[in-house]
Symmetry: C2
Subunit: 275 residues, 2 copies
């Protein structure tokens, strides 16, 4: 991708290296003007302080991660997740984020009821739609890779995300987050991206490593894996999305161990050559 202005980098890419403030200062230093926020980091510094740091650096914010995770069959735990998502919406509004990244959540320990978990996760999204609408913050439904179905996301495919949007009457407050890592394998990818069209509110990029060692924390730098990222980007552009390309790399063995300034430099280079 040759348009540097579309580059966004999620602060979770420097999870162990940089504090909230350091990540915003660091990105600004490298001329990156758009980021995504990890709630734990925001909470450490406080929402007011976080909002000020972002404003001081003229940093745009795509998503705030994460809301949702409301699959529990226990009504109190489910309600607590809904309440937490409402707080995420409010936080997103205060820091000027475009959307809350909504993970559906996985299976409760001991449960085998994927279908029930899906119903409850969808019900939770519907419950907070009015809050999102009132705050001018979108709910970005993000399907994760099916290998995370049990742990993090019973929402596994773009097709399912499209169906959820329809079930939510295509409320404009509900969008879809497309992550290359989550969807690259999907035989229905092109068709479902086309269907998603204007629902797409974010595009996350990173790569699938051939020697993947961990289901969640072993994502690769663009170009180090097997995903044809430009092909997915172009499909998304054909569907009408021309917003930020947001690099988000969970990498316990590699990128989380490197000098974060080096990581940003590599990301900028690889975005030009492999996104």
């Amino acid at each position: 991708m040759d348009d540097d202005s579309r580059l966004a980098i999620h602060q979770v890419t420097f999870l162990p290296q940089w504090s909230f403030r350091e990540s915003i200062e660091g990105l600004a230093r490298h001329g990156v003007t758009c980021t995504a926020i990890w709630r734990d980091k925001l909470h450490e510094i406080g929402v007011g302080e976080g909002a000020m740091i972002l404003a001081d650096h003229g940093m745009k914010v795509t998503g705030l991660s994460v809301g949702g995770l409301a699959t529990s069959p226990d009504p109190r735990a489910w309600q607590a997740a809904v309440d937490d998502t409402r707080r995420a919406i409010e936080e997103a509004s205060r820091i000027g984020a475009d959307h809350v990244v909504m993970l559906s959540g996985g299976l409760e320990a001991g449960s085998k009821d994927v279908s029930g978990a899906r119903q409850r996760a969808l019900e939770a999204v519907g419950r907070v739609v009015p809050d999102a609408r009132a705050s001018g913050v979108k709910l970005g439904l993000e399907p994760l890779h099916p290998m995370l179905c049990e742990k993090r996301a019973v929402l596994c495919t773009l097709k399912q995300a499209n169906e959820w949007c329809e079930l939510l009457d295509d409320d404009p407050a509900v969008g879809i987050v497309v992550d290359t890592y989550a969807v690259w394998w999907d035989p229905a990818l092109e068709e479902e991206i086309a269907k998603a069209g204007p629902r797409i509110c974010a595009f996350h990029v990173n790569d699938w490593l051939s020697d993947t060692r961990d289901l969640r924390l072993d994502r690769g730098m663009m170009g180090d894996g097997v995903i044809d990222i430009p092909w997915i980007r172009r499909a998304i552009e054909r569907s009408g999305y021309w917003g930020p390309c947001e690099v988000e790399i969970f990498s316990e063995r590699d990128w989380w161990r490197r000098d974060p300034d080096e990581v940003v430099r590599v990301i900028k280079e690889r975005t030009r050559t492999h996104v």
Copy 2:
């Protein structure tokens, strides 16, 4: 499942512990009358000898694993995979197997062309359909879990397997292998099982472990994971399949390290309680 006569156990479940002969003798000793065969093991002992051992023990054979793996963009490598699949069909015929388990294959090293790999894999299946028909052996298309898309199977979903069957004019020589591990997460599972109907030629059972450590070799014993196996079995029965329930566990850390007689005992028990 309370019908012991439907139990089959794939000899790969004892890959490091039992030779070909030992696995057939072992299963027979425990009253198991149906198995599936791993080609490497068959080749070690020879097809003729293997067929005799099976016949001597009155052992029925579901699938012979594996054929296919024809995704290479190099025409010679692709042709070699087709030729090897023809040999698998002939071997399957000689040992009286119902089908060859057809894995599509993953991405060639360095390739990012999933779509091309899929075309070539499908083309290879079409190429050997006449051989299968002539030998009275089915080709069992087995989608694997999407996390194995890069390494082993660009055929990732039951929907895609159904589409391939249609593209192959629903030739009765082509069937579908449903493996609980590969499909449990799929939001379209029930619908696609119903569509598959009489195409289903095998049902593999094993479980998804909550602390999965390896993408390929860390499958769980039924009951140790999160898959609602009886729910999938009933869906498959509604679609008309009442054949063997075939236990197939690749387990580097656990079941491949245990006394195989103990493994068979546990399988028999868990089949009653968790299949």
